[in-house]
Amino acid sequence: MESDKNILLKEFAPQLNSTGPWGYAWISFLLAVICLGIVAFFFQVLRGHEVTGMRDNVVWGIYIVNFIFFMGISYAGALISGTLHLFRSSWRKPIIRMAEFITIISLLIGPCFILLCIGRLDKLPYLAIFGRIQSPITWDVIAISTDIFGCLIFLYLAILRDLATLRDDDIIKLSKWRKKLYKILALGYTGTPEQQLRLNRATDVMAAMIIAIAIIVYSVLAWIFSVTLQPGWHSTIFGPYFVIAAVYSGSAVLILSIWLFRKIYHLENYITKKHFVSVGVIMLVLAAFYGYFTFSDYLTKWYGSEKNDELLIRLLFNEYYWYFIISNYIGVLLPLIVVGIPKLRTITNITITSVVVIIALWLNRYLIVVPTLESPYLPIQDSRPEWLNYGATWIEWSLTAAGIAVFSLLFTLASKFIPIVPISGFHHDLEDKKEGISA
């Protein structure tokens, strides 16, 4: 058993203790994108929100879209890792760490986007000082902070064994400060039966908790929209719809990250087609649910044809035709076809599908936010084109790119600090190990 662990450690040593030229190039590129975002942010702060494409009608733009998107993949990570953990799915081990990383990293980035929408960041503490419980934004603040807290604990419990392994290791040559850090973070875990029992119990409890929290948080996020009277938002289905869409987008991001890390860190022995198909099947089921919810929502709006619903539907099928087709047709049908038909189920196909799904789901959020705000009860009567139609400016795109860059950077750095595939997961449970490696 000990030797298994050592073999694994040796195999993972390159990703943990060295960074190649490509690695540095990648990190520098990400830092450059982040710098662009910082420049854009200063522009926005100094010149006011006028530099964005947002105006009095479309008061929320792609910042909110990104917020929903990142929160979505985060909750998905929580739900997927929590569920896989609780069901003891034997194939979960090599990919569960990635799901956990996705959860926590996107959870840290998501709320930053909502902050970009806030007109007066200097008054942000008022949310705590003068917070009113009647406001869904207050619900959101409470829910998201609970979620961040819960997910951090869950992630910490999940990596504790590996932290202890890295502390005790003498195979990989790690720098002194890292050893020291691992020692502190490992909290004196040595793997005694009692410690194991406690750790397992705590992880189970947290896994169950974050599933519940994730559902609540994403529903609360949906209610920010559906408690208003806006025609496209005032829908009872929004809570569950958002939860499903979130998990769906998260499963796609998980597939993409599995593919990337498998390629970059040469994990072909650990992550196999089986994993792609398994997560692919989860994605397929979610695609069906997502399609069903989308259909119900728009069918009822279209069939009744209330004046403002009709205007919205008309807008969606004209000005936003391709957005709508990609997000609500291709985004639903593609996974059903690719994963549904065994012949098409290849690693490449599933990965391409997941990229399409990610784009489709981002567009789905765009279609929820922007067209609704462009078709208020009182028609927008204005001579300024930017007042009539929303279009994101370079400021907003730069900050969006920066958000993705921060996500990638943190993911990269996290994988340098903690093995992207749980080491102790394999040596801990012989049965699981065999499953994981030989599958």
Partner: protein, 318 residues
């Protein structure tokens, strides 16, 4: 009880006598000389005021410095009042004087309007009409419910105000309002600097970058016995303002019993079905004195273009 009814009748007097009475009260408190400001600007409305030496002078309303209550005080309504507005769509010809007076009174930049005038047409076969739209000061205001920090509030006199010192600029109220009544300061506009007085939510000025503002029913004017800027500025007397408990509304010239006016003219509230219970009533555009096309008469190009997408303009395009 007696005291109260006496008070009530005095208040009614105020409304009836309108502007002069308001200025008289101000003079009684010896504030007039301080109310006069040295600034001169194009006149929108003249009011008669009494100076400290007893002379009656006509001054521009923009020159009057109105007493401003503190942010704290602005949370409480004017005791015993419940304000209401009635807009007579039959008389509106889109003269835009209400908008101009409001913009000036609140030191608003061009394009950031508390009062907006829409050209509405309910369906193909129905007649188009001009639709001035202030904030409806709803009795069930969604904007107030959703505000996370209590920056917007409903007062006992029915007015919904925004405190831009408290507002964090999340714009949730703007998506909450189904009437698009709220505006956002997307940058610091030079007009904000025109107002040198300390900020008061009742004055809705000076504006502040990154915060939300909206029509406030001009409680600073009401406090000195005047009607809001839009009411006194309208040449057609379209907008009536008053107190629903006193059952009186006035446009500065004519005074009506509110309930009778609503009954006789079939007054209604816009989008009643949304359940927001607005405090602004509309009188339907029947027996109109002006054709809708007259509303395009003196408009500049920019404003004319606002209505380009309306069915009416599209139909009549040469």
């Amino acid at each position: 009880m007696k005291e109260q009814s006496k008070n009530k009748s005095t208040r009614r007097e105020f409304l009836k006598q309108g502007l002069v009475a308001g200025a008289g009260i101000a003079a009684g408190t010896g504030l007039i000389s301080s109310l006069l400001d040295a600034r001169t600007s194009e006149s929108v409305e003249k009011v008669k005021v009494m100076t400290t030496d007893g002379q009656i002078r006509e001054v521009d309303i923009a020159q009057l410095k109105l007493p401003r209550v503190s942010r704290e005080e602005s949370h409480y309504g004017i005791p015993g009042r419940k304000f209401v507005m009635v807009i007579d769509l039959a008389k509106c010809k889109n003269a835009r004087k209400c908008v101009e007076a409001c913009q000036k009174g609140h030191h608003l930049p061009k394009g950031q309007e508390f009062m907006k005038i829409y050209l509405l047409q309910d369906s193909d076969k129905t007649s188009p009409y001009w639709f001035p739209k202030p904030c409806f000061h709803c009795d069930n205001p969604l904007c107030v419910s959703v505000c996370p920090v209590g920056a917007t509030y409903k007062r006992s006199d029915g007015i919904v105000l925004v405190d831009n010192e408290r507002c964090i600029g999340c714009k949730f109220c703007m998506t909450g309002c189904p009437y698009s009544s709220r505006v956002f300061a997307w940058k610091h506009y030079p007009e904000f600097d025109e107002d040198k007085e300390p900020y008061s939510p009742e004055a809705g000025s000076p504006g502040k970058e990154g915060t939300v503002s909206k029509c406030d029913f001009c409680p600073d004017l009401i406090r000195v016995g005047k009607v809001p800027y839009c009411v006194s500025a309208c040449p057609m007397g379209v907008i009536y303002f008053g107190d629903i408990d006193e059952d009186t509304v006035t446009n500065g010239t004519d005074t009506f019993q509110f309930s009778q006016l609503i009954k006789d003219r079939a007054g209604y509230r816009y989008l009643e079905n949304l359940g927001t219970r607005p405090c602004v009533y509309y009188l339907p555009p029947v027996d109109r004195q002006y054709d809708v096309s007259l509303g395009f008469g003196d408009l500049n190009e920019e404003i004319k273009n606002r209505y380009n997408e309306t069915p009416y303009v599209k139909k009549h395009k040469p």
